[in-house]
Amino acid sequence: MPEKNASEKFDLSIDLAGLKLKNPLITASGTCGNGKELDNYFDINKLGAFTLKGITVSPRKGNKSPRIAETPSGIINSIGLENPGIDQFIKKTIPEIAEYRLPFFCNISGYSEAEFLELAEKLCGRKEIAGVEVNLSCPNIEGGGLAFGTDPKTVYSITKKVRKIYDKLLIVKLTPNITDITEIAEAAESGGADCVSMINTISAMKIDIDKQKPLLGSLTGGLSGPAIRPAAVKMVYDTFKKINIPIIGIGGIRNGKDVIEFMLAGASAAGIGTINMIEADAALRIIGEIKDYLKKHNIKRLSSLIGKVHI
């Protein structure tokens, strides 16, 4: 009975602006290390793609500790982009990831337009890297005032300039700390982004009431985890109506149902962040749960669900 067997096969593959992923699961930057840490727990080649830790031009020590606080169904982090800087990254990290067989995205953060361009330039032509994710949204950096990603003009300009330099997949990562995220998504699209990823963390803080001081060393930080999922889904839903490039949905995903929710809202792929910190091999479970859903609803191609709630 070949039909029966066939009906048990599901196509989880996703087309991300021309890049084919075997499934929609992409690690979210900063929550999954750089590959080998998770590879201790499962074969990371099973992921759709891997987003590396945020990288800056100069090395950064990151913020003062404590850098993490727990909140209801969420966490606040203020890592502050601890990283060895782009040159060290190219020298040490890139050779390390070369052994894996899956697309790697490089998450880049700059403190000026020039820095973004320098980062893009240095990553250009690196065959180990399948794409660059421009992080315009990190709220942790003390860089004078609001994040780059709150002004559509700036977003357009940076995207356009990076686009000129960088020829592979260009992802722009959006901040949720904004009145209308769809404007920023449109700016990224106009600037030439191949896709947007959303959302980054929500500005938040926790106070140590016994010490009567902010709990985090850097006073405030970014909220992630299941708590933020309902806000993230809404933003993906709104953005899907406005742009024609694919969306990587991120925010509080912990199981296959959450991935389906983001895809129905309009996401083409799903970033998994905080869940990996609690369950290193969550991706394997999630892939299974996605298959269970497809089976239950007799759906062959996962990608047929993208944006389906809008119909």
């Binding site: 900063g30 929550t31 999954c32 290390g33 840490e37 998770l38 201790n40 727990y41 830790k53 020590k61 990151g62 500790s65 404590p66 850098r67 993490i68 606080a69 727990e70 209801p72 169904s73 969420g74 966490i75 982090n77 890592i79 601890e82 985890g225 299941p226 708590a227 912990r254 905080t274 990996n276 910190m277 609690i278 290193a280």
Partner: protein, 255 residues
């Protein structure tokens, strides 16, 4: 999922948690820790796991013993679990104490719940001369630990802040009294960072080698998130995978 065999109060807000863990990938080493999910399956709150050091491990029966103090929401919820329930626990995690054979006197200096990893360590260093220095607020907090240390070949010295044991005061003072008279070959220490810092200072001054275990607030416990970074002589390191055990002098402590 590990089954809870026992979860009972053995001192003021101090709980003794015994787990049957058959599916362990490797045997835990002293100084390593386990990361315990506090929430029920399908509940996302509390979200993060809680790290606890190995208090003891029985390799024949795969029985893991932890000791924890009820200090916040997570440990309060944990204290309500009953024998027979299951817990989602991962580990062993982290870089252990070095337990190479040393022919000479060894000091173990523990303050508060920092005593926990020193117990399994002392058990593992079975042979050889050892002195253990235990400090806490009061003698009740030390009762359970004392009982267990008495079962092995180790000399016990105790100090409490609010009542006179060997002395009334900090374990640091107690330990330094001994340090005046003898020079140990190696010192292991775990406890509040202030204490670690003082122990380290004394050891470095007298060129005594040793290791400390630090407790930094953790996110993942597996090296992916950089929540637990600490500054060291060789740049930032992650206390969850590069630590929690470090060589004396290696880490910049918050004193």
């Amino acid at each position: 999922m590990f089954e809870i065999l026992k979860n009972k109060e053995v001192g003021p807000d101090i709980f003794y948690l015994v787990l049957k863990c058959d599916e362990l990938s490797e045997q835990p080493k002293p100084g390593q820790f386990f990361n315990v999910k506090i929430s029920r399956k399908l509940s996302t709150d509390p979200l993060l796991r809680r790290p606890f050091s190995v208090f003891d491990f029985d390799e024949d029966q795969n029985i893991l013993e932890l000791v924890y103090r009820k200090v916040g929401r997570g440990t309060e919820i944990l204290s309500k679990y009953k024998a027979g329930e299951k817990l989602d626990v991962i580990g062993p995690l982290g870089n252990p104490f070095s337990t190479e054979k040393r022919s000479g006197l060894i000091h173990l200096v523990g303050g508060g719940m920092g005593i926990v990893p020193l117990h399994y360590l002392a058990r593992t260093l079975e042979k050889g001369e050892k002195k253990v220095f235990l400090g806490a607020e009061n003698s009740d907090e030390l009762e359970f630990f004392t009982k267990r240390f008495k079962k092995m070949n180790v000399e016990i010295h105790r100090a409490a802040m609010t009542e006179k044991m060997e002395i009334k005061g900090s374990v640091l003072v107690l330990w330094m009294n001994y340090l005046d008279q003898e020079k140990p070959l190696f010192v292991y220490t775990c406890g509040p960072e202030k204490m670690l810092s003082a122990v380290e200072k004394e050891c470095l001054k007298s060129s005594i080698q040793g290791q400390l275990s630090i407790e930094r607030r953790m996110g993942c416990g597996i090296g992916v998130c950089l929540s637990c970074s600490c500054e060291t002589t060789e740049g930032n390191k992650r206390s969850c995978v590069d630590g929690p055990v470090f060589t004396l002098g290696e880490v910049v402590l918050n004193a």
